[in-house]
Symmetry: C2
């Protein structure tokens, strides 16, 4: 699939998993290791904190040629001129977000079923997340794993880029890529790593290796 | 002072104080009782819930000629075409909000000191909240009361409309109005009342009575 974004290694911030390291420091290391997308997702931050960190991440990602996405908050995305937003099923509907953001911004949608994936594509999403593929404890509101089978089903029916998410580690990257994912999204596999760059590098090399067979 | 909004009785939603009554039902009663501004402020709602309730409140307030303001979330305000936003000191800076919202929307700012009030006016706020004037337990992050003296100081130096907030009840409305407030903002005094319309009516009549002497 053609990616409006290169979603090979999509890294999501997880400040509470970062062992106290500043977000920007972890982000730099993740980008050094090959992250192609960075998403700011900090549900406990105030709007002001999101703007402040978002502004720093916008400078960093622009400098490094990395796509920068803001989770949920369309206003923060506009305020810091992010490349787009990522919306969950509990966030703004795609149409409303598009009207506020304009045509130039990327909109990604979290999907947990084939129906949601098809609906997201129909509504004009630029990419979708599919998951949680495996068990994960990153979010407070944990959904049951959908399994790699859903990645396969969605890949057969949905043409926009699909990022597999949820419990992705180096050892299962090949499986989700073979199932048709265009890339993998991770929080802890990168953010909680002792060697953030090394962890990102390892994930990206496995994505590239397995993905090469898909094209 | 001239109000771009009539801030005489500024009612803020407080779903957890509403004894299980639907937000729209309480809002209707508050407007029946004379609320001149309605602010949607539900920190625990998802974006989707804010859009859904906000949309209903937008219809209601437009029909009834009441100003509709959204707390913190500039994106939700745009999504439901609210009249404006109310920003705390931890929310987006005024300038950023103005850039996203355009010149036609109202921006209000919470202030807790003379410095913050002057700064809000300088940055182009359309009105300010001043408080908490009295002790209040409505918010989780409670600030120490600033007292009616701050209302007096701010009124002497700030020309944009000033809404007194924090622990305002019928019995202290006269005091804050005499100190120079253009109106009062309340959550529980209206939202938790058994007779919402009656509570609003009582507050508004005291605002009008005391305010008449200020003009
Ligand atoms: Ni800058």
């Amino acid at each position: 699939a053609v990616c409006r974004i290169d979603c090979s290694l999509y890294v999501i911030t997880g400040d509470k998993f970062g062992h106290g390291r500043p977000i920007v420091e972890v982000a730099v290391a993740a980008i050094d290791g090959g992250a192609t997308v960075l998403q700011l997702r900090e549900k406990d931050f105030t709007s002001r904190q999101l703007v402040d960190v978002g502004h720093q991440l916008r400078h960093l990602t622009r400098q490094r040629g990395v796509t920068f996405i803001v989770n949920d908050r369309v206003d923060i995305a506009l305020a810091v001129d992010a490349d787009g937003v990522h919306l969950g099923q509990d966030d703004l509907p795609v149409g409303m977000a598009r009207r506020i953001l304009g045509p130039g911004k990327i909109i990604g949608i979290s999907t947990h079923s084939l129906e949601q994936a098809l609906e997201a594509q129909r509504q004009g999403a630029d990419y979708i997340g599919v998951g949680p593929v495996y068990e994960t404890h990153t979010k407070d509101d944990v959904l049951p794993p959908v399994g790699v089978d859903l990645v396969r089903q969605v890949s057969a029916r949905v043409s926009i880029p699909k990022v597999a998410i949820g419990g992705i580690k180096a050892h299962n990257v090949a499986e989700v890529m073979k199932a048709g994912a265009d890339g993998v999204a991770v929080v802890t596999a990168v953010w909680a790593a002792g060697d953030v760059s090394g962890a990102a590098r390892e994930l990206l090399s496995r994505v590239r290796e397995a993905g090469a067979g898909n094209r």
